[in-house]
Structure formats: C-alpha cells, structure tokens
C-alpha cells in the first residue's frame, strides 16, 4: 500500500467516525438527570423488600417461615410464638439483612399471602450498614412509603360457589396486578 493510499484510508476513517458522532449529536440522550429526575422504574423492578400490612392495619404475615426457607442468601431471620387467643402464630422477630440480600425475590415468590413484596425504592445508600439490617417495623414503613408495589405471586386463590379453587380475579390479587394487566387489555381492544 502506497503512502498516498494510507493517508486516504486514515482520512476516510476519521471522516466515518466524525459522521457517526455527528449523527448521534441530534439523537435523544439516553442519560437521566438523577437525582433531579427520578427514573421511571417498571412495577416489577426489584429494588428493595417490604412487609405489607392489611388495609385495617393488622398483620398480613402469617409467619409460616416459607420465605426463610426459600432464601438463597439466608438473610431472613424469623422468630414466632403461638397466638394465645385464636389460631396461628405471632411475630417475635422478622429481620431481613438487606446488606447481604441478593434481591432475587425468591421470598416474594414463596410467600403464600403476598405479605413480603418487592418495592421500587432504590435509594438505600448509607454510611452505616447497620441501618440496613431491617426489622419488622422498618419493613412495614417501607411498604407504607412505597408508592407502587407489586408481587410476582399471582396465585391468590378463591373458593368458588361449587367448591372448586380458582385463581382470584386481578382486583383481588395483591400487588397491583390489575394495574399491570391494564396495558394488555388496551392492546387487545
């Protein structure tokens, strides 16, 4: 290859690069102006965990220990005692070590009553890791704070009049499933 050809090749390559840069200048930038503009996370996004209470303020968690057994990182610690009046159990201690949690949402999937849910609150950075050892009050507070929450456990079931067990309609499902399914209906119509 002669020197002239090499020079031409170099000029052509620089021209191609500059043309590409020029094209991108007028495209919409993919960056976000966080923290001034909060990112719009999808409802299923797993950023943190929360423990939901019933609407009347009573405990939804039935302390069945399913989440503790399902947790791959083994960060959930639960202690319970029998309810002296009535049946079931009451929470003594419900701790999630959010430092070592790997946010796989296996606990959310295991929960039979959709009490433990994932939320979109990702602003958890702290100077003191001890503040991320979440106890039951912290997890309840997280659920109250969460503006929108969702659980991938679709399986809340109802008993029909003839005794069969069926999947509950979206309105009865916890975790805003009705809202999730809304776009699907719009697409169909």
């Amino acid at each position: 290859m002669s020197l002239l050809q090499e020079v031409w090749q170099a000029v052509k390559a620089i021209g191609t690069g500059m043309a590409t840069v020029h094209k991108r200048v007028y495209e919409e930038a993919p960056t976000e102006f966080y923290p001034y503009v909060k990112p719009d996370l999808p409802p299923v996004s797993v950023q943190s965990l929360a423990l939901v209470e019933n609407e009347d303020g009573s405990e939804r968690c039935i302390v069945c220990l399913q989440c503790e057994r399902a947790c791959p990182a083994q960060v959930i610690t639960i202690e319970r005692h029998r309810n002296p009046e009535g049946k079931g159990f009451l929470i003594d201690r419900f701790d999630i070590d959010l430092v070592n949690c790997m946010y796989c949402a296996a606990c959310v999937e295991a929960c039979p009553v959709s009490s433990i849910v994932t939320i979109q609150d990702f602003e958890m950075s702290t100077y003191d890791l001890q503040t991320l050892k979440a106890d039951v009050d912290f997890l309840h507070e997280q659920a109250r704070r969460a503006r929108q929450w969702y659980s991938p456990k679709f399986g809340v079931e109802v008993r029909t009049e003839d005794g069969r067990i069926e999947k509950a309609p979206p309105e009865m499902q916890p975790g805003g499933l009705a809202e999730i399914l809304k776009p699907a209906e719009e697409v169909d119509s």
Binding site: T16, T20, L41, P42, V44, S45, A105, A106, P152, V187
Partner: protein, 375 residues
C-alpha cells in the same frame, strides 16, 4: 515460588519480568499475567486467576435446587439468564419436567437478548482497549435498551433470576414483543454504524489482522469454544450440535472464519450479533402472545440419584454444568464448565512472541469475564 512469579533465566539478563494486573484496566477484571519482556516482545506469560473467587460451587452444594439458580446468575454477570439455563435444563432432565412450547421460546428470546447485550459490552470494552472511547458509549447506550426490556419483565437488569424449572418465573410484559421488535429495528441501524466504526476501521485492521493467530489444532487441543473456536475455523456450536429450547425451530447459521487471528474473532462476534437479530426476529413472530409460561414442576425439587451434564452455547462458548444428585433436595455436587475459563487457557500460547500492546488486543478478543472464570 515459581508458580506465582517468573524465575529469571540464567544468562538472559535482558529479560524484564513485568506484572500485568490484577488491577490493570485492560484485563477486563482481575486477571494477573506475569510477563517476561524482551524489549517490546513477550517471551513468557503466566496467567494467574482466582482474585474474584467466591466459592460458588461449594455454596451451591449447601443450597436446595431452586436456591441455586440465583447463584448461577452471578457467574457471568454480563450475560444474565444464560448462566441459569444449563442448571435448569439438567434438573428438568433428571425430573422429567415438561416445558411448554411458549416457555421455551420466551427462554430463547431472553437468551439471545443477553447474547446481544454481552457482545455489545465486548465491543465497547475491546475498542476501549484499542484506544477508541466513543464505541464504548454507543454500545452501552444500546445495551441499556436491552436491559430495560429485561427489567420490565424479570424485575432486574443484570441478574434477573428469571428461568425456573419448567419454564420461566412469570409471564412476559404485555409490551415485550413490541419492545423487542422496536429494539431490533434500532439495532439493525446501529449495526451499520458499528461495521463502519469497528470492522472497517484501518486502525482496527492494523492492530488485529495477523495478531494472535490461533491454529485450528491448537484451539481444539486447548478446549476453547464459542466465537474463539469458530474464528479458528471449527464450526462447533452447541445450539446446532445439541439443540435445546427453541433452537430447533429457528433458522440461523454458524459464522466461521479460517484465519484464527484477532480480527477473525472480532468478525465472528459481529456475525453472531446478526444471527442473534435474525433468531429474535423469527421468535417475535413465532411466539404466541398469550399462553402458558410455566409447566408443572413438583413443589419440592428432589431429583433421583444420578448425574446429568447439560451444556448451552452462551456468549463466550460452551457453558456446561454437571449436576450430581444423591436423591435429597440439595445437589451433591454442581460443577460448572465455564466457557471464559477454558478460553483463557490459550493466553500463554497467544501471548508468547506477541508485542506487549498486541497482548491487550488479544485479551480483548477472548472476551473474558472474571465472575465466571474465578467463580
């Protein structure tokens, strides 16, 4: 101490021993290579790995079968769900779980989306190693779109924990197929730019053609796989050789190059991206929009005693897993066969005789990910 450092050869006082890494930015993580340099030529190279070792295989022995899946995610962290598949396939085989056809297609779509994402990361970082900064910004821009699509369905971007025994964990987002189709249109336009910027650039030609030639025989002898093997002229692809999931239903080719040099490895990865786009285009059409996404799996996963090896073709090559079951709910042994780990074995071969600056280009063409190499 001969394993940790190079001993000077008596009578060769002009050889200089240099440490490259583990914190070198061009080693894609924490690879440490001890180089013997004679001027600019590399005379000897001894790679050291293990700086990111997290004891994955031992942890997995202490977890029940469903718990292992999120751990496999954390091996090759740029290609997400691809790591989950061999383990899931092996356990499904042992238990005889039927996977619905739609679930297989959704799995394959995620698999190919992550292949595109992984190759985009490779392209950006490989160009960064060769001194070009803007391709890195463009490829991460495109990868962001893929991760956004995945997050909408799976809930996480890089470590989604999405596959499960019998299918996938939840149904895809209603917009998923439209999003993928839009992204493919976008990606096809972008690929034209990338061809101009990377494959046709005379700077890339000068840095890569004829550099780090890996012969066919050597590649097979060292057990490399994936794009590195195909760039040496061996048309081996697990997707064709041992098809899994929805790959028998789609048409695609195995791009190979006879050259075996660094440029050939770049070229093969580029062609693979075109093939991924082609597979995804077919699957967007083929996959039913609604239907089952998960087959019947037992509540307690307890495979019968025995062992099973399953492999998939991930972005780096053959990723296999050997699951040994003793009949309890925890695996007796989980052995991962990492593609990046096997591909790294040719580093001493390729480095010896190369120039120091070429070593960076050779390493970039191998596309190592240290989460998987060190496990």
């Amino acid at each position: 101490m001969s394993t940790m450092s190079l001993e000077p050869v008596p009578g060769r006082s002009d050889e200089m021993i240099v440490n490259m890494g583990p914190q070198h930015p061009a080693t894609h993580g924490v690879l440490r290579v001890v180089l013997g340099l004679e001027g600019e030529r590399i005379t000897r190279a001894v790679p050291h790995i293990g700086y990111l070792h997290r004891n994955h295989e031992k942890i997995e022995e202490a977890r029940t079968y469903p718990m292992v899946i999120p751990y496999t995610d954390r091996m090759d962290y740029v290609s997400g769900t691809q790591n989950e598949l061999p383990f899931v396939l092996a356990v499904e085989d042992m238990l005889g779980i039927e996977v619905p056809d739609r679930a297989k297609k959704i799995r394959t779509m995620f698999f190919e989306l992550y292949r595109l994402a992984s190759h985009l990361v490779w392209m950006g970082t490989a160009m960064l190693d060769l001194g070009a900064i803007s391709p890195f910004l463009y490829t991460f821009w495109d990868r962001e779109i893929i991760l956004g699509i995945v997050e909408k369905t799976a809930g996480a971007r890089m470590l989604p924990n999405y596959y499960t025994f019998g299918g996938v964990r939840r149904d895809v987002h209603p917009d998923f197929f439209k999003d993928v189709a839009d992204f493919l249109d976008h990606m096809e336009r972008r690929m034209v730019d990338y061809e101009h910027l990377v494959l046709e650039s005379p700077v890339v030609h000068a840095r890569t053609i004829g550099v780090g030639v890996l012969s066919k025989e050597r590649a097979v002898a060292r057990g490399v796989s994936g794009p590195v093997l195909r760039a040496s002229g061996v048309a081996y692809d697990v997707r064709k050789a041992f098809p899994y999931d929805a790959y028998p239903d789609v048409e695609f080719e195995i791009p190979t190059s006879p050259d075996g040099d660094t440029y050939a490895r770049f070229w093969v990865r580029f062609q693979e991206m075109y093939q991924s786009i082609r597979i995804l285009r077919q699957l967007v059409e083929l996959t039913p929009k609604t239907g089952p996404y998960k087959g019947k799996a037992p509540a307690r996963i307890k495979p019968p005693a025995g062992e099973r090896y399953r492999a998939v073709e991930n972005s780096r090559g053959e990723l296999g897993v050997l699951v040994v079951s003793d009949g309890t709910d925890k695996p007796y042994r989980v052995k991962h066969r990492g593609a990046a780990f096997s591909n790294l074995q040719i580093v001493p071969d390729l480095f010896e005789g190369a120039k120091f600056s070429d070593a960076i280009a050779i390493l970039a063409s191998l596309d190592p990910v240290f989460g998987e190499i060190d496990r």
